[in-house]
Structure formats: structure tokens, C-alpha cells
């Protein structure tokens, strides 16, 4: 798989340092699950975090501290492993959906387009979008940054073509009309700082666009 479009490096740093709203954490974790290049960058930020701890302030622990820790070592805990569950959705997304694509509870929003809003903190919104092959995503605008990760199929807009694993970053002033490839229905994860504002569901705007 060749991924061409990645999140900005500042977003990857913000993920490593926990400076992102939950919905953006989710899209970065999902992209990194598919993209070794960004995984390497995130891990390099972890390395910097380690170097900060190594070279940073030393605050002495309570005198009993080590003994208490040693006493707790035999308490059995089951450390959870990050699993890999194969599917269309990367594992972190499957955790939110409760399974793969079959488990998504779609809400129709018109003209064959469907969405499913995922439960995250309110600072940002994460939604899965389903755009039938060849259809246009309804025209919309957003107040802040929007990131879109393609999970199945592909779409194309003014910025280029985006396929599985690609992330499109759109700022508030971007007016884009993504159109799904004709070959396959498109499923994406779209994350926005502020709720998406769909501009009136007029048939004129919702016109099905089929490319030949």
C-alpha cells in the first residue's frame, strides 16, 4: 500500500504529547496503524519524550516508595496488549465501533450518503461517512481543521486523489466537494474541530455526480 497523504508533522507531535482532542487522537491512531512512516515519526517523538525525562528534573521519591513498589510486584495484573484485528477498520476504530464495518450503525443523511457519529469528548467530532461509488459528498463547510482518513474506496477533490490510508487535511476556508471513485463505495473517517455544517439539503446540491 502506498500512502501519499499524511497528517502534518505538528499533528503527529501533538498526538505523541497528548495535545489533541480525543477525536483527533482516534484519526491519528487509525492512520498510524496503516502508515509505517508516521508510526516512525510518532515513535521518534516518544524518544524525545524519553530524553526529556532522562535529562529533566529529579524529584526524590518518598522513603518507603521502593518498598511499596516491590511489595506490589506480585499482585497479578493482566496487562492489556494492543491487538491487531484484521478488517477494513484499523483496530483503534474497531474499538469505537464495536466491530468492523458490519457493526457500524449508519444513519442515512440523504442521496445514499450515510454517517455514524462516534462517541468522543466534545472538543471535536468524529464520524464515519459512507459515500456511494461515484457520488459527491454533500457540500459543507467547517469552522476549524477537518481531517479525513479513507478506509475503503477512494475520493477525489481539488487537492488530489485520496485512497485507503490517505489523510486529507482541510482548513476552515477550504471549499471542497469530494467525489467518490466509481469503482467502489467509499468509507472515510472525518474528524472536525467544530461540528460540520451541511449547507441545506437542496436537490440541486445533492445532485448525483457520475464520472465517465
Amino acid at each position: 500500500m502506498t500512502i501519499k497523504h499524511h497528517p502534518e508533522e505538528s499533528t503527529l507531535l501533538a498526538y505523541a504529547t497528548n495535545n489533541l482532542p480525543e477525536a483527533f487522537n482516534l484519526i491519528v491512531a487509525s492512520h498510524v496503524s496503516l502508515c509505517d512512516e508516521c508510526r516512525a515519526i510518532v515513535e521518534s517523538h516518544d524518544t524525545l519524550g524519553g530524553a526529556l525525562i532522562e535529562t529533566g528534573t529529579v524529584a526524590s521519591m518518598d522513603t518507603e516508595s521502593l518498598d511499596r513498589a516491590l511489595a506490589r510486584l506480585d499482585v497479578k495484573t493482566m496487562p492489556e496488549r494492543k491487538r491487531h484485528t484484521p478488517g477494513t477498520l484499523p483496530t483503534p476504530l474497531q474499538d469505537y465501533v464495536g466491530g468492523d464495518v458490519d457493526s457500524i450503525r449508519w444513519q442515512p443523511v440523504g442521496m445514499g450518503v450515510k454517517q455514524a457519529i462516534l462517541p468522543t469528548s466534545s472538543a471535536a467530532t468524529a464520524r464515519l461517512l459512507y459515500i456511494p461509488a461515484g457520488a459527491a459528498m454533500p457540500h459543507h463547510s467547517h469552522k476549524g481543521t477537518e481531517m479525513t482518513l479513507v478506509l475503503q474506496g477512494a475520493f477525489e477533490d481539488e487537492d488530489g486523489r485520496f485512497a485507503r490510508g490517505d489523510v486529507e487535511v482541510a482548513d476552515a476556508d477550504v471549499h471542497h466537494t469530494p467525489i467518490a471513485d466509481i469503482g467502489e463505495d467509499c468509507i472515510c473517517l472525518a474528524v472536525t474541530e467544530a461540528p460540520l455544517r451541511f449547507k441545506g439539503w437542496l436537490p440541486r446540491i445533492m445532485q448525483r455526480f457520475v464520472r465517465i
Binding site: E43, L52, L66, D95
Partner: protein, 190 residues
């Protein structure tokens, strides 16, 4: 007495090999190795957490938790992909989030190329070397820049402030990225 002085001098010259300590914990459940890891890292984790705004008692509790987590998760440590300090950083970051309980932090899924082979010793050495270089680079940074990086890692930077950091001339981070990439590509060929 003279023995103790001698030990002190030796310790100044060479830091203990923390990777070997973790492997001793992993393979032999070595409590002495754990104690040495604890004495080195717990006060640093505590200092890091206090600087990031935690009160001292929470930082104390969290540092203890991080170290016991290290004991239980030792089998998951891969010395060709992370320095001991980097691994501890990720545990501390996630533990801190658990304690604040504001939101979840989804983690990327595991790498998928099957059962982990014992990591290549050359990769381990290269990574630990690179990490040492990074720590040196960090120490030699002007204070203003170091403060900026710390602020980012303490979780109170805006996006535009973060963008400034990614422009910092930390050459070793870039080479570390290349190293990690090489290693990932290498591992995927197997």
C-alpha cells in the same frame, strides 16, 4: 568506605545499561534490577509530572504505578524500537491520562508481521546510541528552546506553538526517524 567511593566513580563514567536491566526483569523477574531502574527513573518521572502540573502526591503515586507497569509489561519492550526512557515516557503519558480521566487515548494497533523475532543486536545498539545523541543534543539546546519543547510535552501548547517546535534544528530526531524507518522496512521484508 573506599569501596563505596570507587563505585561512585565508576557510576559516573558509565551509566548502567538499562536495556540489560529490563531484560533481566523480563527474563528472570530480577528484583535487584528493578530496584535500580526504580531508583533511577522513578524520581525523574516524578519530576517530569510535577513540571507538567501534577501535585507532588499524585506525581509520587503515578511514578510508582509507571514502575510497576514496567515490571508487568516487560515482555512488550522492544529495545530495537524504543529506548528504555522512551518506553517509560509512553507509560507515564498514558498513566497520567488515566488519572485525569478526561478522555480516551486510542493507540495504534500492533505491527502485523507475525511473531516478534529477537531483535537484531545491531539495531538495538544503533537505537540506544541514537538516543544518547538525542539526550546530548537536548542538553546543549538554548534554554528558550528546551523550555518550549518541555511545554509541548507537558501538554499545554497550542497547535501554532507546536508547529514552531517541529521546525527546531534537532538533527538527531531526523536521523532517528530514518533509523526507525530503515528498521521497519527491514522487518517487513522478513
Amino acid at each position: 568506605m573506599s569501596e563505596r567511593i570507587l563505585t561512585g566513580q565508576n557510576e559516573k563514567q558509565t551509566e548502567p545499561d538499562w536495556v540489560l536491566m529490563i531484560l533481566a526483569v523480563r527474563d528472570h523477574r530480577d528484583r535487584a534490577a528493578f530496584a535500580r531502574l526504580f531508583e533511577h527513573f522513578a524520581p525523574r518521572i516524578k519530576g517530569f509530572l510535577i513540571n507538567s502540573g501534577a501535585d507532588p502526591s499524585m506525581a509520587e503515586e503515578c511514578a510508582q504505578d509507571v514502575m510497576t507497569t514496567l515490571w508487568h509489561k516487560a515482555a512488550q519492550f522492544d529495545p530495537s524500537r524504543a529506548s528504555v526512557a522512551a518506553w517509560i515516557f509512553t507509560i507515564a503519558r498514558n498513566r497520567r491520562i488515566d488519572m485525569l480521566r478526561k478522555q480516551r487515548r486510542p493507540e495504534p494497533e500492533d505491527l502485523t508481521w507475525g511473531p516478534e523475532p529477537e531483535p537484531d543486536q545491531a539495531d538495538v545498539v544503533a537505537l540506544q546510541q541514537e538516543t544518547n545523541n538525542l539526550a546530548k543534543a537536548l542538553k546543549s539546546l538554548p534554554k528558550v528552546q528546551r523550555d518550549l519543547i518541555e511545554k509541548a510535552y507537558f501538554g499545554d501548547l497550542t497547535q501554532s506553538e507546536i508547529a514552531k517546535i517541529t521546525g527546531l534544528p534537532l538533527g538527531t530526531i531526523k536521523s532517528r526517524i530514518r533509523l526507525a524507518l530503515d528498521r521497519l522496512r527491514h522487518a517487513m521484508k522478513q
